[in-house]
Amino acid sequence: MPTVSVKRDLLFHALGRTYTDEEFDELCFEFGLELDEITSEKDIISREQGDTKAEGASDVILYKIDVPANRYDLLCLEGLVRGLQVFKQKMEAPRYRRVSPASSEPQRLVITEETTAVRPHAVAAVLRNITFTQERYDSFIELQEKLHQNVCRKRTLVAIGTHDLDTISGPFTYTAKPPGDIRFKPLNQAKEYTAQELMSLYKTDSHLRHYLHIIEDEAVYPVIYDSNGIVLSMPPIINGDHSKISLNTKNVFIECTATDLTKAKIVLDMMVTMFCEYCEEPFTVEEAEVVYPDGRTCQYPELAYRKETLSADFINRKVGISESTEHIAQLLTKMCLRSEVMSDGEQIEVEIPPTRSDVIHACDIMEDAAMAYGFNNIPRTTPRTYTIANQLPLNKLSELLRQDLAAAGFTEALTFALCSQEDIADKLLKNISETRACRISNPKTAEFQVARTTLLSGLLKTVAANRKMPLPLRLFEISDVVLKDESKDVGARNNRRLCAVYYNKSPGFEVIHGLMDRVMQLLEIKPGQGNGYHIQAADDSTFFPGRCAEIFACGKSIGRLGVLHPDVINRFELTMPCSALDIDIEHFL
């Protein structure tokens, strides 16, 4: 969930009234938001860097508000205020309009073929005659950053560039060039750099270095020029210094380059709808024309309004309420979804504005109706769904065995399913190739290299962490290991194992053997060949030579038991002899 930080007094001023913290918290809840924290810049700095650093910082009260992940229209003060005012029925949702320039051709952005390989999409728009103040300007910059972090997926999907249109002249060209051929003065730098130089310059930049990987290895880098060859931006890394906007900027050219066109359109719509209220003609946006390599042209921003028709009955049935069609239409209108009851008195026509890109299905409309109705006002009911419960046989067996193993004097351990390769191979004197282990491609530490193929290493690590406990230690675990298995759709399967260890001054083979006998007794399998169980000597590198046996039940090999090899003891940093039992319990289903 993204968190939006707004100045409280500015927010209250825009809302036209003040609230107590409790009242505002309540309002947030009703609107599906969460007032996460009440703080100030000073508080934040002093918490993160200490009191001395915080001296002189602003102590203006900030509200930190958690916003649902897909509500990009609530990521800035302007959007929040608009949403809340409409919700409180203090204003009607504005209608955003795309307009043609009064006396000239629209701005054009020409996309060349070269961009296809690296970042093929671009959209653009103009905010004409806008008036910035310091607060509006800050919010404008902040919204770009919020969009970059969220819907733009850290600029991989979309990157936004905003420019002072009066410093540049169209038509603009969006192309891609080898990094050595791109040369310009980037934002807030004193001199020109080639793209190559920039990439190494930003390697150490705490902010920009996170975006370098997006184009670093490409043969060509995206770049936007104006008709005089001035670089507007090198997306998704940096804008040019020449066209940077300031408090005095009157006309803003916004371009969004993207690998995902749908997202680019959403992001452009968000940028313009949030700030066009500061234009001379509020809520209008001047169109720009984008020319594709194949000659097609499109006008942006789309600012598309879409209509859905649904019935009051649908909403009532899904939410579990019985409200009139008129009331439901009213509730939806409060959520910026302008709704009208149709002539049959049952259907509602809902208009989804360009700010509500999150509404993609009638179920989203239903959810907004429920929110506006108030989740806490919905009567709680019990589904009449009649079903008979069943346990998973494998889990039922595991639960029963756990109880009886504890009754047999063994204590249950709970160990991790992920571990290092060393844990399941080297330390158990096994070769990794014989383990059938599934390997993780992106572990952050060696602790998560593989999925375990045995429970034994986890138990031995538990013993090692508890060497100070009185002896003997008797531990068990019944849980899943993971093995590669070609016959499964994912190429691997879980296997439910029962593993137990006995750690004491003497190996206690007879103890672990006795536990195995007890398990067989619990499973109603009698000693003997054929349909019974028996053990026979086996070679296994994990065990001390001559001290390992394979367990057979009903004619099938189900596991091993024996005294662990002294080298295994050493590798797990243990000092005493230890015997172990490891069986596959899926045979007993």
Partner: protein
């Protein structure tokens, strides 16, 4: 047990006195070693309230070795006098006697003897008294009889100076009658035996009281892990509510079932390398229900089923990537797909509690793996009110009032359900929470590593109480 005779004697003595008596005095008057009396007192105390005894310490005077000799044989000066015959004795001969030197000077100062220095044949000693009172001996005898109190302090100190007396501190008991006082005692038995039961002799016997202050012997037993005990309770709750357990024994899942089938777009941040564990071996899943996969592709990239879709280029390669499942909802998706393949839809209630994996930054409350609890209900006409009602019932059984903090819930989207082939009117409500979080809240554990993994202290496991979630 101390000597029975002595114990009985002691009891008779105690019976006779009104207030009480000192063990030291008893020892003196009986002429037995004080330790023997102490033994008798202790064994009587072990019988319960026969007597009560308060320990106290007292100082008393005792004869030294030399003092004892004098008490027996007389003072040195008295012995000097008695060893001198009528005709006297040469001084040199007297000095040879053991008591000669000390006795000579004391007898001289008592004027019991005289020395004739000019006697022919050397200095000679004559006695000057016929009968003498040996006061030193008398005093020592008094002390020996335990009557030191008859002497004045000055006298005692003088004898102490002569190293004939010493003052010693004695620990003794002040013995009084107890609430169950009796002069006859029966030997107390420590434990009931089979013989006593067989013969019925237990009826006559007295049994040594137990010390109920002490702890018992810890039973030699195994223990279940606390988190698994909580898991058992959650299973129980679901079973009580009529939910059937899903087969979640597949940690490795394809991105298709974990994400795509749930209508989670392929660019979603949860599918990032930083959040999810991907597999290099086996890296890809094969075998998907082809027509279903096609419907999933379509709803993502083009929409349909009433949806706008996400309108992006959906790639099978992304869907094929194997991962460690990030939620058990992947299994719910498989189960709902399976349900949709039934000839006729039947309502279901499913649950699972099993491990899920996140490639997250680890801290005090986050591990790379944890247990997810999930409940799913699929039926015609379920409402948000039903979801809230069932959640209320579920969390009521947990005894948790503030469940919003620990869980997530909602209705599955039509873009997930309709491509599976579930009928249009079927709604699926679901909720999930972690097993660890409520367990930590319940038991006041702040660091998850104290609860899960090989580093946990087994003592914590040994000491963990039974799990009753609703109390």
């Amino acid at each position: 047990m101390a000597d029975t005779g002595l114990v009985e004697t002691l009891l008779r003595r105690v019976e006779k006195v009104d207030g009480g008596l000192d063990s030291q005095d008893v020892a003196t008057s009986l002429g037995v070693d004080h330790q023997a009396i102490v033994g008798a007192v202790k064994s009587l105390l072990a019988l319960g309230d026969v007597i009560s005894a308060d320990q106290r310490s007292s100082k008393h005077w005792e004869l030294t070795g030399e003092g004892c000799e004098i008490a027996e044989q007389g003072s040195h000066e008295a012995r000097v006098v008695s060893s001198i015959p009528e005709e006297g004795m040469p001084q040199s001969q007297l000095m040879k006697l053991a008591f000669g030197k000390v006795g000579f000077s004391k007898a001289m100062s008592n004027k019991w003897i005289r020395l004739d220095k000019g006697h022919e044949g050397g200095p000679r000693i004559f006695k000057t008294v016929e009968h003498l009172e040996d006061l030193v001996r008398d005093k020592l005898l008094l002390v020996q009889k335990g009557q030191a109190s008859q002497l004045e302090e000055k006298e005692k100190n003088e004898l102490k100076k002569r190293k004939l007396l010493s003052e010693v501190t004695v620990k003794s008991y002040w013995i009084t009658k107890g609430s169950c006082f009796s002069t006859t005692i029966t030997k107390q038995e420590t434990e009931l035996t089979p013989e006593m039961i067989a013969s019925g002799s237990w009826k006559e016997k007295k049994f040594k009281p137990y010390n109920f202050e002490a702890l018992g012997v810890a039973p030699d037993c195994g223990h279940l892990h606390p988190l698994m005990k909580v898991r058992t309770q959650f299973r129980q709750i679901f079973l009580e509510m009529g939910f059937t357990e899903m087969p979640t024994n597949n940690f490795i899942e394809s991105s298709f079932w974990n994400f795509d089938s749930l209508f989670q777009p392929q660019q979603h941040p949860a599918r990032d390398q930083h959040d999810t564990f991907f597999l290099s071996d086996p890296a890809q899943a094969h075998e998907f229900p082809q027509d279903y996969l096609e419907r999933v592709r379509k709803v993502h990239s083009e929409g349909g089923f009433g949806s706008q879709g996400y309108k992006y280029d959906w790639k099978i390669e992304e869907a094929q990537k194997n991962i460690l499942r990030t939620h058990t909802t992947a299994v719910s998706a498989r189960m709902l797909y399976k349900l949709a393949q039934q000839e006729k839809f039947t309502p279901v209630k499913y649950f699972s509690i099993d491990r899920v994996f996140r490639n997250e930054t680890l801290d005090a409350t986050h591990l790379a793996e944890f247990h997810q609890i999930e409940g799913v209900v699929a039926d015609y006409g379920l409402t948000l009110g039903d979801l809230m009602g069932i959640l209320h019932q579920f969390f009521n059984k947990l005894g948790l009032k503030k469940w919003v903090e620990v869980g997530n819930s909602g209705m599955f989207r039509p873009e997930m359900l309709l491509p599976m082939g579930l009928p249009e009117g079927v709604t699926v409500i679901a909720w999930g929470l972690s097993l660890e979080r409520p367990t930590m809240i319940k038991y006041g554990i702040n660091n998850i590593r104290e609860l899960v993994g090989h580093k946990v202290n087994l003592q914590m496991v040994y000491d963990s109480p039974v799990c009753r979630l609703d109390s």
